[in-house]
């Protein structure tokens, strides 16, 4: 039998979408307003079934668009409710202006987000263009490698968001995780409810005895101060996320950080990844280690706030690092994660010396990324370290027909 990590946990077979809906059932938010979209449809469908069956008391609002979903969630949160939603891709895009309003008003809305490519061309498969595009929206972004992480991240994100007074979303890779049934340990409802606690906002609009105005115009004299507050909250959220992770480990036994170090401490070559490809890459790292190659992997879990200083410190000794982006910024320069990691290394004084860093873009529109591709990246890093190959100063694309 597969052993549970938590003594009261239960091993089940569930897809990413099923566990996210399960987490939402256990969280039982006051309000969920959502509009279904592939590949996140099941989250909304399963959750609304829980409500319809009377299993939970949440208010489910079947809105007519994602813009309304986010608007309703924001309104519910401002009124004092614990509010959640779920979406993907074009749905997240349609929420765009409201994303900034949730963070600007400092409302702890929590969203399940399933990563999917953006149109055009229309595509329903997984890449991270959607959430990477929202990286400056003031939302905490937590990425999940597998269904277990998706479930654990959903539970933690409630407390993180409410403590940081910032909206947060948890992502899974579309189809690869959202539709893949795998082994997940779920915890008893009472334990999850005890962990997240009751939501007690400091101030809320339905508190008629203490009225205030929320979302008024803010011109040259005050806008900047409020944006500074937001930026600072994002920086401060790093400690909150770690505190919640500590408590989570104590309660449920699973360990989380801002990022995961996999055989990185003595590594000579390493890759930086985010999402489900981390699991595939771990297989490769293990194999390379067996062959005596000092390969490592750094998996970013929390992309916003970005653990800049910490990641730079862990990468600075490594000789060559490949940074994998499942989104292309179309910037004429580099992908989003590369830009953040490179800037982080610069900020601690690592400019041109060591490590040599290469940017790879992979998996757009759900394009396959397998162990062979990851092997070839490590192969390239090895050659860079040996000096037999120069490192590229522009994006390298994996598994795409260019010529």
């Amino acid at each position: 039998m597969i052993k549970t990590v938590c003594s009261r946990g239960k091993i089940v077979a569930k897809t990413g979408n099923e566990v996210m809906a399960e987490a939402m059932r256990q969280i039982e938010p006051d309000v969920v307003a959502a509009y279904p979209i592939t590949p996140a449809t099941e989250i909304v469908q399963i959750f609304s079934q829980f409500v319809a069956d009377g299993i939970i008391k949440s208010e489910f609002v079947a809105v007519e668009s994602e813009h309304s979903a986010m608007s309703t969630t924001i309104a519910a949160s401002a009124a004092g409710a614990r509010a959640m939603t779920a979406t993907s891709s074009q749905g997240l895009s349609l929420m765009w202006e409201m994303l900034y309003i949730a963070s600007g008003l400092r409302l702890p809305v929590v969203m399940a987000e399933v990563n999917r490519a953006l149109s055009a061309p229309i595509n329903i498969h997984g890449d991270q263009s959607d959430t990477m595009g929202a990286r400056d929206s003031g939302w905490i972004q937590i990425y999940s490698e597998n269904s277990q992480e998706a479930y654990d991240n959903m539970i933690q994100s409630i407390r993180i968001a409410e403590k940081a007074k910032l909206p947060a979303f948890v992502t899974t890779d579309g189809f690869i995780i959202s539709h893949c049934m795998e082994v997940v340990e779920v915890y008893p409802d009472v334990d999850v409810k005890a962990f997240i606690g009751e939501y007690k906002p400091d101030r809320y609009l339905l508190d008629v005895k203490n009225p205030y105005t929320l979302g008024s115009i803010d011109l040259q004299d005050y806008y900047f101060e409020h944006r500074y507050q937001l930026a600072k909250a994002m920086t401060d959220a790093k400690d909150i996320i770690l505190d919640v992770a500590d408590d989570f480990k104590e309660t449920f036994g699973r360990e989380y950080g801002l990022y995961e170090k996999y055989m990185i401490d003595d590594a000579e070559i390493a890759i930086v990844v985010i999402g489900s490809v981390a699991g595939t890459s771990k297989v490769v790292v293990k194999e390379l280690r067996k062959r005596g190659i000092k390969a490592g992997l750094l998996k970013i879990r929390v992309y916003r706030p970005f653990p800049s200083y910490q990641i730079a410190k862990d990468l600075k000794r490594i000789k060559a690092v490949a940074i994998l982006d499942k989104a292309d910024s179309c910037s004429g320069a580099f992908g989003p994660i590369y830009s953040d990691v490179a800037a982080s290394l610069c900020s601690i004084g690592m400019v041109s010396s060591c490590p040599k860093i290469v940017n790879y873009v992979y998996g757009l529109g759900g394009r396959e990324i397998n162990t062979d591709h990851i092997f070839s990246i490590y192969e390239k890093l090895k050659k860079i370290v040996l000096g037999v190959e120069n490192f590229s100063n522009k994006i390298e694309y994996i598994n795409v027909r260019i010529k």
Partner: protein, 191 residues
């Protein structure tokens, strides 16, 4: 990529239950203590169109999340798919192919151009009609797959499927018994 990991590819037609079979197979094996994965061929599904689904089974935790390109086992729910889909794609000489057909294995070997010991046949549609009363070959094929893989205990599998079906068909005991009989028969009859 661990040697111990088993990878399975299911071929069926939209509506035949290829995805359901992969999910049920995974859930059943989880109950016997294995780590599992089950996923459909990603994308829009249409009734009658060729579809695929996949399983990974291992004694160790499965972290890999890429597609399955070199399956150890291929299960074909509808023999007509052999005419339109490259069902042997990525299957090496050690791979096994299990076909729902009324033909004998030599005919299938010839048709697919594979080695003699690679093909196993079972008339799962006939078994399904006789036991469940409908041509739903996915559950009997599950029994055949368990037999061909060999390392799995059929009694554990049957017991776990019974538990699983009990929750879904509590008020239809005949459905549960029919399905279990079909699995057992396919397990015994596959060759």
């Amino acid at each position: 990529m661990s040697k111990k990991m088993i990878e399975v590819r299911w071929h069926g037609r939209g509506g035949q239950g290829a995805k359901t079979a992969a999910l049920l197979f995974a859930e059943t094996l989880l109950a016997t203590g294995k780590y599992i994965q089950a996923f459909p061929e990603y994308g829009p599904e249409r009734m009658g169109a060729p579809v695929q689904s996949f399983n990974r089974i291992s004694d160790e935790i499965i972290t890999i999340h890429s597609g399955i390109t070199n399956p150890n086992y291929v299960v074909i729910l509808d023999s007509s798919l052999m005419n339109s889909v490259n069902v042997t794609y990525g299957v090496d000489n050690n791979g096994k192919i299990i076909v729902n057909t009324s033909l004998n294995s030599q005919d299938i070997v010839k048709k697919l151009g594979v080695l003699t010991n690679q093909v196993c046949v079972i008339n799962a549609s006939k078994i399904a009609l006789e036991t469940i009363g409908k041509d739903i070959p996915n559950t009997p094929m599950l029994g055949a797959l368990v037999k061909v893989i060999g390392a799995l205990n059929i009694d554990d599998v049957l017991e776990n499927i019974r538990v699983k079906l009990m929750t879904k068909f509590r008020h239809k005991p005949e459905v549960i018994e029919g399905n279990l009989t079909s699995i057992k028969r396919a397990f015994d009859e596959v060759c």
